[in-house]
Symmetry: C2
Subunit: 278 residues, 2 copies
């Protein structure tokens, strides 16, 4: 999906699809690098139904594979038209992406105080910056060094990334994520948009079952306790508030002049939670 | 040292030092990224007398720190003059570097058959490619897109990298490396240039004490056994042959037209083993 974005953006803005191919390859390789490295960081043994690289070949080879994928991405970027006008900004996006990943780990570990604005910064980094850099690439492929358009597209991409992340959080609570269990984020101890909305708006007493789960060691977060915490998020209105936020954000994205770069994209991203939106 | 190379090359080829600064910063950041990631891969707890990043902050943060350093390097590359003419080639060097690192691990693990030509490929990748990319950067900063000069300088840089690696191997056996012990490579189970020369030229019987050490588990490679193996490398002439190879390589580098890019560099690299050279 990520590799398609720069091509789609390029074509929708009047460029030739081929002009975006080197960018697309670079972004696909970068995404795969992050997948290989994230699985080591998260200790995940399975990826796309097969053993994770580190799980099969060991951490050393997986780290080398990850960095090799990053450098192969650069080889492709080096071939991309108008690359020079966006390389620095794309790299800055990627730095912010790793900052977002670090904030994500710190939030889950309790090393960073959870608040909605901290969460938004984290999500804008972790999820938004990759979309931002995909959009920059697409605009550069179509319009070379139009700095103003590139910046506007980058912001638009980050907004869509945030939409994607909040959608993912909502889906995790409404139970249509294709997993056996609702509340996977709660099991992981990851603060989510609805959770942080609840911290801001609900009483401590109402939040007790949620707080209990978040303070337990992971192995003691039983399905029953997680289900009770999910129920709390519904009861205090956090799920509805998240759906409302998404509805508003969707309309803002659709009204944005750059919708022409990615027509129908917000709708597509929000399809899994469409039935919950106001 | 690595960050100085592009600046030195640039100035010696008639450019302004400042033109190479963004490249220099990028290469220093890339080198630091590789240090942070290599320490995880090698399980080294100490770096430059202080705890390694992964040892102090954990593997997850260290991997993120390593990739962030790579992306910060790209931010700097994005600012560098004539960057567009060398990015792809520099990235290709970096891919070959990681291939060399993988070969190094495979050689130490016995997963790759040891031969002198395999070792040369490994060393040219692991050590040569970083020098190669430093030289490309320096030439690009001085002369923009002179593709022929950039390629010649890259090859010259890789040759110097190989010189550096063989020098390091010789130093490990002649005992002036500032470590307590000669034969650190033997303790690590890493095939070296002198070792592979010996495999090619000496009888199996003469190599018995060396083979014994290489086949022992690491914890059984005692100082006495390693000393005996080092003595074998001296006795079969491998140390002298390595010194001769280095002497020849040094003269070739000094006769090369691109010596003007790095005058005195081969001499400087070989200073620690100067007393052994023919």
């Amino acid at each position: 999906m990520r590799a398609v974005l720069p091509v789609w953006v390029c074509v929708n803005l009047g460029g030739e699809a081929e002009a975006a191919f080197d960018f697309a390859v670079a972004l696909e390789l970068l995404h795969n690098a992050s997948v290989v490295l994230d699985d080591i960081e998260d200790g995940d043994h399975v990826r796309r139904g097969r053993p994770a690289v580190w799980s099969q070949w060991g951490t050393s080879h997986a780290i080398t594979a990850g960095t090799t994928l990053i450098f192969e991405a650069l080889v492709s970027l080096g071939r991309a038209r108008s690359m020079a006008s966006v390389l620095g900004a794309m790299a800055t996006d990627l730095v912010r992406l790793t900052e977002g990943q670090t904030m994500d780990v710190q939030l889950a570990a309790g090393a960073l105080a959870p608040s909605r604005s901290t969460w938004m910064d984290m999500a804008r980094g972790k999820t938004g910056m990759f979309f931002s850099t995909c959009l920059r690439a697409g605009v550069a492929a179509a319009h070379g060094d139009d700095a103003e358009l590139i910046e506007a597209a980058a912001t638009y991409g980050a907004d869509i990334g945030l939409l994607f992340q909040v959608q993912d959080d909502l889906l995790d609570l409404t139970g249509n994520k294709g997993r056996d269990l609702r509340g996977a984020d709660l099991i992981e101890g990851k603060p989510s948009f609805p959770m942080l909305w609840a911290y801001e708006h609900a009483s401590l007493a109402a939040l007790a079952p949620l707080q209990e789960v978040m303070h337990l060691p992971r192995e003691q977060r039983t399905p029953e306790k997680v289900a009770a915490a999910v129920d709390v998020l519904h009861a205090v209105g956090a799920v509805d508030a998240t759906a409302r936020w998404l509805g508003d954000a969707k309309r803002a994205v659709e009204r944005h002049p750059l919708t022409r770069a990615l027509p129908g994209w917000a709708e597509r991203i929000l399809a899994p939670v469409a039935h919950c939106l106001p």
